[in-house]
């Protein structure tokens, strides 16, 4: 194996192991309320709802913190998250992060839009945080393989600062510069950037 590929594979495997503090099994049990919308294996059937399977643990936990404090608004999520303790929140993040990622959504590809999305992703340096395969890193989520409906909504919410960035990350600033056309193109491209 090429040493860099080997290192990448090792790194990917090691990242699949959750942080020691969180309890995946407890997370699985606590997730019973979540799977109604997010799917039994964390893969959603509703294109407006994100799949959580294989998502970055730290990203999931931060979003639950934001829902709990009301800094990210969604009537259902605000209510559910309000009941979570820190420990439950950590376990839920670990559980969904431990599940295998969703495949790219099936859907009619639009090669021209896909190409424009790829250009927009390069222009706005999305890979700087989300990595070259858009599989995410630390609190920067995997953005590949989400549905175009969800990705477009997420970008619109960041653009209007309806949801906050994490730490010194700059999603509000990035998205603030996006046009409607770019959002539509990015949403299509990120469904299947491979």
């Amino acid at each position: 194996m090429h040493p860099i590929r080997a290192a990448l594979a090792a790194a990917l495997c090691s990242l699949a192991v959750p942080a020691k503090a969180a309890d995946i099994e407890a997370g699985r049990q606590r997730a019973q309320q979540c799977i109604t919308c997010h799917g039994a294996e964390g893969i959603t059937a509703d294109p407006s709802i994100p799949s959580l399977a294989g998502q970055k643990e730290r990203y999931l936990q931060w979003q639950l913190v934001f829902f709990r404090s009301g800094r990210r608004q969604n009537p259902v999520m605000n209510t559910l998250a309000a009941a979570l303790s820190d420990e439950e929140l950590r376990n839920l993040g670990a559980y969904f992060a431990s599940l295998p990622r969703a495949n790219p959504p099936a859907g009619a590809p639009d090669p021209a839009l896909h190409a424009r999305g790829k250009q927009a992703a390069a222009r706005h340096r999305c890979a700087a945080c989300h990595m070259d395969d858009y599989g995410g890193n630390q609190a920067a989520p995997a953005v590949a393989h989400q549905t175009r409906v969800y990705t477009a909504k997420a970008l619109q919410d960041y653009r209007t600062a309806a949801r906050p960035s994490v730490g010194v990350a700059a999603m509000n600033e990035v998205a603030g510069a996006l046009s409607e056309e770019e959002i539509a193109a990015l949403a299509v491209y990120l469904e299947n950037p491979d």
Binding site: H2, I4, R5, A7, L8, A10, A11, L12, S14, L15, A21, R58, Q61, W62, L64, V65, S69, R71, D86, E87, L89, R90, G93, A122, H124, R125, A127, A128, C129, M131, D132, D133, G135, N137, Q138, A139, A140, P164, V166, G167, V168, A169, A170, E173, V174, A177
Partner: protein, 420 residues
């Protein structure tokens, strides 16, 4: 070149994924290092979204600030972490308070309340003790990066990017804080390096940095300086050429303002050094963006300046150590030789292949800034090439002479005490 992280480190994933991108996507643009033209006002008028990045060097490629845990570290894990902290003989560290998301600057109220600012959490906290029970309450919510706090004459002061707010009778109103008075708001709105640390002098004037909204460039007018705001709401610029300072204190020996300063990123792993500065005269220029660490011309923004014309630091602290909160030790619990030493909380690196900092330093220095030397006081929060178990960011001396240390990564406050 610095050693590579071991395969367990997320940092390697970043490196490997970028390398993999080079191998697999065959996009020529990926092979280039990022660069920004930060020489024009358009850069800061419309800063790039990844404003904290800069012109990359090969050795720093792909580095980005790490994001801490979403929730405060549980008590049992904190106690495990503290077992690994190394201190000089006779000193002891313990968890003093926990469950304080993104805890930043601390300030004592007159009646023993500890007020604590936060970073992105938007909160200000109060830690109180009743019948030997210590508890943490969130007393303010929804503020814009309320990192800096100060207290005087019953009033709590909070710095929230472009506002200095005053909450009167704060300690008697913890359960229902009053509407604030805006003491001062003649400040730029930049969030990047706009978070502040408040240092109050003997007269109640507050010193704080107005940081530059980027890594390196021509500073927008009204940034890159230390401002002093008086209790009557009048402000003045007292120190020039300061990039980003999030810590300082008044020297008990002289009444002079001293401050830490974070140097620019993306020059190399080992340059330039972060600084400890002393303000001897109003209007002194400390060099940014023309010169760094007292003697290093900026490769792009030197503008023909001679570095010897700027005020040198009292001490160069090291590259990417990120010195934040600092205090002169004024207590009587520690050994006598600690009296008036500067204790500095180093937040630690992100823009360095192998992190350093994430510890507390002790600086022994004369009141005139001469004979400065530093040594490590407390370390062990840096647990890998690019991993933290905690990140100290502020220090405050307690009445009994122990010190408290705020950790925004773990959401906790520690106490360090000494006994013979």
């Amino acid at each position: 070149m610095a050693a590579m992280p071991t395969p367990q480190r997320p940092g390697l994933l970043a490196t490997a994924a970028i390398a993999a991108g080079l191998l697999f996507t065959a996009a020529p643009a990926m092979a280039q290092l990022k660069s920004y033209d930060s020489s024009r006002p358009s850069f800061w008028q419309n800063p790039p979204p990844d404003w904290f990045l800069g012109d990359e060097t090969e050795e720093q490629k792909g580095l980005a600030p790490p994001v801490g845990p979403a929730t405060p570290t549980p008590l049992a894990e904190l106690q495990e972490n503290l077992k690994k902290i190394k201190l000089p003989p006779g000193f002891r560290i313990e968890v003093w308070a926990h469950g304080i998301p993104e805890a930043r600057q601390m300030a004592w109220g007159d009646n023993g309340t500890l007020f604590v600012g936060s970073f992105g959490a938007t909160n200000v906290y109060a830690v109180t003790e009743r019948n030997g029970q210590r508890s943490v309450a969130t007393i303010l919510k929804g503020l814009n990066m309320p990192t800096g706090v100060a207290f005087r004459d019953g009033a709590l002061y909070v710095a929230a990017i472009n506002k200095i707010l005053r909450y009167d009778n704060a300690e008697r109103s913890l359960e229902n804080m009053p509407q604030p008075v805006t003491l001062y708001d003649d400040l730029p709105p930049y969030v990047a390096h706009g978070w502040k640390y408040l240092v109050m002098d003997r007269e109640g004037a507050m010193y704080f940095n107005v940081g530059v909204p980027f890594n390196i460039g021509i500073p927008p007018a009204g940034t890159a300086h230390i401002r002093r705001v008086h209790t009557n709401g009048l402000g003045e610029q007292v120190a020039m050429g300061v990039r980003n300072s999030v810590g300082g204190d008044i020297d008990p020996r002289t009444g002079q303002f001293w401050f830490t300063e974070n140097a620019r990123d993306w020059l190399s792993n080992d340059l330039p050094s972060d600084k400890l500065n002393r303000l001897e005269r109003i209007g002194t220029h400390f060099g940014y963006p023309y010169c760094h660490q007292g003697d290093l011309p900026d490769p792009k923004f030197n503008a023909g300046q001679n570095c010897a014309n700027f005020t040198p630091p009292v001490l160069n602290l090291g590259a990417h150590v990120a010195p934040l909160g600092m205090k002169f030790y004024t207590g009587s619990m520690f050994p006598a030789e600690y009296r008036n030493n500067v204790l500095i909380a180093e937040h630690g690196s992100w823009n360095r292949r192998v992190y350093q900092g994430g510890r507390i330093m002790r600086v022994q220095v004369d009141a005139d800034g001469k004979n400065a030397r530093q040594e490590v006081f407390a370390e062990g929060w840096l647990t890998g090439a690019q991993e933290y178990s905690g990140r100290p960011n502020d220090i405050i001396v307690a009445r009994d002479g122990s010190i408290l240390v705020a950790d925004d990564w773990a959401g906790a406050i520690y106490r360090i005490s000494y006994s013979r």
